[in-house]
Symmetry: C2
Subunit: 389 residues, 2 copies
């Protein structure tokens, strides 16, 4: 087991109608001005926007707004937000939305204090030293950004999608009301299930042995995601299922499920190439496709761990590790299909002629390896793509 430092200070306000208390929550932190960040029109349609704004007004909290954040959030919006609060400074950046909105808020909160272009954070050219506090009201269970230290942004010009991590951008608080996710579509719910699962599964499948505590917690959370995910998918207004999925979202990506392990996130790194380049591809759709291609290419190098996943999470009862591991990959792929997720590149409209240029971009023309317990070179990327074409 590796040494580690773990810090998850986000205060969670969980339950029905909690969003109506946002003004009071912010007041208790003594913040008096807010940059309100949100996405498209949906929070206005559902009435959430009015609830939040009314609560801010009732508590005499000044706010300015940045709206129009899209999936695979763009650097241009980050810059727009920074310009806004340079003109009119605020004490808190409040994200109302899902991972894209929260990541934009984090990039603004951190980029605000930089002299350099905010892309320098995601390009790992500068280390953040300071950030404005970020708070969130979560509207979709998926990215886990509401408790995480990570922030993924796409550069509009270069199409490069890249993340940076810092404990400075862990939200100060997150408001989690499962009811706010009742209206999340079947497809977006399915995307969330894949995203949440992969946050834990990619931590679980690492080559540090004897992570008893971490493995058990990860197994529990993965079982929750698959079981309650399916319930929420079929019965969107099921409060308890939505609640379980929301908590799984938050605790799948705050670090708890990876304590003491090696952190590679190989599938995520491969996927960033797909959803960075093909903007219409949802991150989770990319993960859903790539997982089985990657897993079938590497499971024989870590059969014990893949088999443990198959046995303890999927209840597959096969005594041979390799057989069990492989069956687990197929069963998970079927699960993804059962909730309407794609499992081949062609379903994402990615053609075989796209494979080579993508492999070249991922490996910078075969000059770098994608990290992992098996490092992935260009040839292997092509093999993975071939398994899921």
């Amino acid at each position: 087991m590796n040494d580690f430092t773990f810090y998850s200070p986000t205060k969670v306000f969980f339950g029905k109608d909690k969003e109506k208390e946002i003004g009071k929550i912010i007041t208790d932190y003594n913040y008096k001005s807010v940059l309100l960040v949100y996405g498209q029109s949906s929070i206005k349609k559902t009435g959430l926007y009015d609830k939040v704004v009314n609560s801010l007004k009732d508590n005499n909290i000044k706010f300015i707004e940045l709206s129009g954040i899209e999936p695979n959030p763009k650097l241009s919006k980050v810059k727009e937000g920074i310009a806004l609060i340079k003109e009119e400074p605020v004490e808190l950046v409040l994200a109302v939305g899902g991972g894209s909105v929260i990541d934009t808020a984090k990039a603004i909160a951190c980029g605000y204090f930089l002299e350099e272009d905010p892309w320098c954070l995601n390009a790992h050219l500068v280390t953040p030293k300071k950030a404005l506090p970020v708070g969130t009201i979560l509207t979709i269970s998926a990215a886990g950004s509401e408790l995480s230290n990570s922030c993924v942004i796409t550069n509009d010009d270069t199409k490069v999608k890249s993340g940076f991590n810092s404990d400075l951008i862990r939200p100060v608080f997150s408001v989690l009301n499962p009811e706010l996710t009742f209206t999340v579509s079947k497809y977006q719910t399915a995307c969330g299930i894949v995203d949440i699962l992969m946050h834990t599964l990619e931590r679980f499948l690492n080559d540090i042995p004897c992570q008893y505590f971490t493995d058990e917690v990860a197994i529990g959370i993965m079982r929750t995601v698959l079981e309650c995910g399916k319930v929420a998918y079929n019965d969107p207004f099921n409060y308890d299922a939505r609640a379980a999925l929301m908590l799984a979202s938050s605790y799948s990506h705050n670090g708890l499920t990876g304590l003491g392990g090696n952190f590679y996130f190989t599938v995520h790194k491969l996927e960033h190439e797909i959803s960075g380049t093909f903007d219409e591809v949802a991150h989770a759709a990319g993960l859903s496709v790539l997982y089985s291609g990657w897993a079938l290419s590497v499971y024989d190098k870590l059969p014990y761990k893949f088999a443990k996943f198959a046995r303890r999470v999927l209840d597959i009862n096969i005594s041979d590790d390799l057989e069990c591991a492989k069956e687990g990959i197929y069963v998970l792929r079927e699960y993804f299909k059962s909730i309407g997720m794609p499992v081949t590149l062609s379903e994402l409209n990615i053609k075989e002629s796209d494979h080579l240029p993508m492999a070249n971009r991922i490996t910078k023309n075969d000059t770098i390896l994608v990290p992992g317990f098996v490092k992935i070179d260009k040839e292997m990327v092509l093999c993975i793509f071939d398994k899921i074409k």
Copy 2:
């Protein structure tokens, strides 16, 4: 599922030799003076005292000391600590030890700002408004105080043992080095196992249905405790088992395993009477004895949950809930016996003639009920005692 607020901001520094970095850790927080709280002579024998003191000196951190904290920590030592830092103020209270030392540090940190007697906190006569920051270096996996918001103190005069909870006393940081627990005796290791298990089990056995996420995390942590606890008990220098037990200790009692549930802690409340009155009884020994008496008295009111524990944690395969639940109680009792823990009151030298006065004290002469999904009156206390005499 209940609404809840959850906040666990303690930064965990985990791994080998981490205690040698204590001076740097404290310096990074910008604290320059410390009250060092510790127990008996053991940290001097093991060399831990020297490591800590040298690291403080190397980083020019001033410190004063309060030593001699005993198990079931006493109010008199809390008062002594407060008097010390009233005379010579410090910026941080650093506990080096287990639950008793940490709880003493917390009571000092909070009591320091009170005009009233510090017992008012534990007697719930005042609500804490402010506390000095507390840091910990943990030397035994058991109480979970290193991440918890709770503080249990015994009043020397009245023998009353009582706890209070406040997020203000959650440690700012905790240093967790599993190697520091290699020298913990077999008996103390066993006590730790019971204590950790009971922190999660008492949260798990509550009457709020549909806590999918919380239940799965709790199941994972309880499996960890029982499996790795046995390994550590038989092989004290097994790093991975000690590591798992240490993490289980911290996350069994920080609140994570009870999210959205009802919090009763009935067995703990009954036990405080025993170890408060009979000072030679370790808290965990009291829990070990009381659990089966209590469980056998109430399991038929919550058979589904007791059966879930039996099936998922103890791998008992009985289809009938009541049968399965009952078998789980017996199996856990056997587990406790297998690690040398007492399971009857007579093993604690508590005689049948003690039962009535104890029941009277617990229920204040039959005028109050002990909270729980089954509320416990005096007659029921006597029934419980009778099952474990």
